[in-house]
Each structure stands twice: as structure tokens, then as C-alpha cells.
């Protein structure tokens, strides 16, 4: 039963490796957007420290959005999606594999470089752990929710803009709790509550999003 899961995962990671340039664009976008802020708001450290969590999170959210439309587009165009939908194994399973591979390629690098970028904002060493953890829990939620949007807008004209309008409002709770976790750690109240909520949200998204995505893909293919 897990055959298609691993086949899809292996293939998508291999494809990401062969088309590395596409992947690097997302990461470069994240780094550049974050680096623009100190230029824009000035080098006042207290101010930079205060906006750091929000800036990093909004930048992560926008970079996620940038790569989302690629999730199913190529497979839709070349007919692979048809073949996958005809697989006797459960659709939600290989959809989850696609999303997981997509997150490893586009989300994980953001999580890894975020602590380095946070240093630009003079964020204290003690908070870096919470920042990384909040992104590690939150960015997969963004990928899962975004995948549903990508499936719903598949094959539509102007799908890219529609996708942004569709999923950005859904990203708001993740943004609030993600940036909030870092904020409350900076404020000294501890980030446990925010991180637990993010973790809960992640589990909920893993359980539900693949099924919503599978249903949307079936509709899109008709």
C-alpha cells in the first residue's frame, strides 16, 4: 500500500534535484525579502528586534506561496496526474507524499536558514530555538493548506493570483501563532502555548488536508 507513497516521494525529490534552480529561487526570495527590511526601517536594533518574528514569518509565507502553483502543474500538464488518480491505492496517500516532498524541498531550507537571518535583526541566541521550532511546525501547515488551494485552482486561467487570494486568509492563524511564539519568548512569557497550538494545527492539517486535496484533484481532472 505504501508503494506509490515512496515512489512519488522519491520521484519528486529526484525531480527537485534535477531542477535545482527552481528550488533555489524560493530560498533566494526568502533571503532577499528578509534582508530588505533592515534597509527599509533603519538599523535601530530595538525596532529590528521587535519586527523580526513578523518579518521572518511573512517572508516564509510569501515564499511558500511562490512555489505552490508548481506542486501539481507539471503532472497535470504531462498526464501523470491522470495515471496517479487511476492508482488503486488511496489518493490521499500519494498526495501526502507529494506535499511532504514539496515541503522538504521548499519549506525545510527556509527553516534552516531562518536562524541565520534572525541574527541580522539582533534576535538573541535564546530565541533562535523557538523561532526555528515555530517555523518547523508552521511551514508544513502552510504547505498542506496551500496544496488544497493549488489543487482547487489547477488548470484555471489566472490560477496563480486566485491561489494567493484563496490561501492567504487561511494562513493567518498560522502566522499569528508562529510569530506569536517568538514574540512571547522575547517578552518572557514562554512560547509553549503557541507551539502546542501550532503542533495541534499541524496534526489536524496532516489528517485532513490530503483528503481535501484528493477530492479537489478529482474534480479538477473531470
Amino acid at each position: 500500500m505504501l508503494g506509490p507513497f515512496f515512489a512519488v516521494m522519491r520521484r519528486d525529490l529526484l525531480l527537485a534535484w534535477r531542477g535545482r534552480a527552481d528550488v533555489l529561487v524560493t530560498l533566494a526570495f526568502f533571503v532577499i525579502v528578509v534582508c530588505l527590511f533592515p534597509f527599509g526601517v533603519g538599523a535601530e536594533t530595538n525596532q529590528l528586534r521587535a519586527i523580526a518574528p513578523g518579518v521572518l514569518w511573512v517572508a516564509a509565507l510569501l515564499s511558500t506561496l511562490l512555489s505552490l502553483h508548481r506542486l501539481f502543474a507539471q503532472d497535470h500538464a504531462d498526464g501523470t496526474l491522470e495515471q496517479l488518480l487511476l492508482s488503486p491505492e488511496p489518493t490521499a496517500l500519494w498526495v501526502l507524499a507529494k506535499i511532504a516532498a514539496h515541503w522538504i524541498v521548499t519549506g525545510l531550507p527556509l527553516v534552516l536558514v531562518a536562524p541565520g537571518l534572525a541574527l541580522l535583526f539582533d534576535v538573541g541566541q535564546g530565541v533562535l530555538g523557538v523561532l526555528t521550532l515555530s517555523l518547523a511546525l508552521g511551514s508544513p501547515i502552510l504547505a498542506l493548506l496551500g496544496a488544497v488551494g493549488a489543487a482547487l485552482t489547477l488548470g484555471l486561467r489566472g490560477g496563480g493570483v486566485l491561489l494567493a487570494l484563496l490561501v492567504l486568509p487561511l494562513f493567518v492563524p498560522v502566522l499569528i501563532f508562529g510569530a506569536g511564539a517568538v514574540d512571547s519568548e522575547l517578552g518572557g512569557t514562554g512560547a509553549a502555548a503557541h507551539l502546542l497550538l501550532l503542533g495541534g494545527g499541524l496534526l489536524g492539517a496532516i489528517a485532513l488536508a490530503p483528503f481535501a486535496c484528493a477530492a479537489a484533484l478529482r474534480i479538477a481532472m473531470e
Binding site: A7, R11, L86, P88, E89, W94
Partner: protein, 208 residues
């Protein structure tokens, strides 16, 4: 075995056909014909469960396919209009993935042998983007050799872009599949050299 009754297909706001009924027993080969835009591809997509008919039902071994999608798709091999090839992968990688996605897991040697039989032995390690149209089509058709135990083959324009010899080989493969008790449904505009003329379903007869 495969049975469709009272099928109607709506594309946009146009009714393509209605009242289409067809029943295929083991060993039969059905050729769907009709002018462009009469719904040949739509019919094949309905038969294999990718699209839902406006009216009517498709049954496999007496069970409606939507009720038991899993076992129906375990019995089905579909080759669509698009070849389902990714340009960045080699034919071998594409074929192995196509099989794995369908729930089979042939080893690399079996896939390489299937590609050799279809005449792509020398192109196994090239990226698919350098292949010609005919060669791309052949990669998709190589799956037929690995899907022999799937009784139902649904093929959309399998002869397109193939050379004369490849067309003859493919017809032989299809006939052999039918002799072994399989069912083949295909669309084509070409006159394929079948030994016994296949059963023909002309969509012009049920068009609206």
C-alpha cells in the same frame, strides 16, 4: 465483464452523446470511432473512471466502478492522450514510476527489458525531453508488457506517431492480449492491421 449502460456525456453545455450502451466480454477488442469532437476521449475517460458520466453507469464484473474503485483500477491499464512522461526523467525512470504509481513494482531489469522489446533499448538513459514523439509514445506503451495481468486495457490513440513496424507490433500485442482473455478498448483514426476486424462503436450513431 465491462458494461456501460445509458451513458450520456455533457461537455460544457453541449450534450456529446446519450443512450450509449456497450457490453464487452473477455477476449473482445472494441474500436471507438467518430469524427473529432464527438467524445471519443470523453468516453474512454468515463469508462476508466476519470470522469463521471452525466447519466448512466459503468460496471466491471457486475459492480459499479465508483462503488469499488480500488479493484477496478487494479484491473485497468489506461494510456491517455498525454504520454505521462516527465522530461527530466529517463524512459527507464518514467516507466518504473508509472508502474509503481499503478501499484505494480517490477524490478529495473523487467522495465529495461520492456523498453528493449518496444525498441528503446538504446535510449534507456537519455532524458525524455530528447525523445521524438514516436519514442515518447513507445515509453508509455512499454507498460503494456508489464501490465499483461491487468485484464482491461483502455488506450487513447495508441497508434499516433508510431512507425509502420511499431503499429504492426502493437496490433500483435493487443491481439495476443485479447486471445489471453483480456479486453481492449481503443480509439484510432488509422486503419490498424488487425487479423480479425475489431468490433466498432461509432459515436456518430449516438451523437446528439
Amino acid at each position: 465483464m465491462l458494461e456501460a449502460e445509458e451513458l450520456a456525456c455533457l461537455k460544457g453545455d453541449r450534450l456529446l452523446f446519450r443512450g450509449l450502451a456497450v457490453r464487452l466480454e473477455a477476449g473482445e477488442l472494441l474500436r471507438v470511432t467518430g469524427p473529432n469532437g464527438y467524445g471519443k476521449t470523453s468516453l474512454l475517460r468515463i469508462l476508466c473512471g476519470l470522469a463521471v458520466p452525466e447519466h448512466g453507469a459503468v460496471r466491471w464484473r457486475g459492480v459499479e466502478v465508483r462503488r469499488d474503485r480500488e479493484s477496478f483500477h487494479r484491473a485497468l491499464m489506461y494510456s491517455g492522450h498525454a504520454a505521462a512522461l516527465n522530461d527530466l526523467l529517463t524512459p527507464l525512470e518514467n516507466l518504473r514510476f508509472a508502474c509503481a504509481a499503478a501499484g505494480d513494482d517490477p524490478d529495473e531489469a523487467a522495465c529495461a527489458e520492456a523498453l528493449g522489446r518496444i525498441g528503446l533499448g538504446g535510449q534507456i538513459d537519455l532524458p525524455a525531453r530528447v525523445l521524438s514523439q514516436g519514442q515518447r509514445r513507445r515509453v508509455g506503451l512499454a507498460r503494456l508488457f508489464l501490465a499483461a495481468r491487468r485484464p482491461l486495457w483502455v488506450l487513447d490513440e495508441p497508434f499516433t506517431a508510431l512507425d509502420v513496424k511499431a503499429v504492426a507490433d502493437l496490433t500483435a500485442t493487443l491481439s495476443a492480449h485479447c486471445r489471453a482473455g483480456g479486453i481492449v478498448v481503443l480509439t484510432t483514426h488509422q486503419d490498424a492491421p488487425f487479423e480479425t476486424p475489431p468490433r466498432v462503436l461509432d459515436l456518430a450513431g449516438v451523437a446528439c
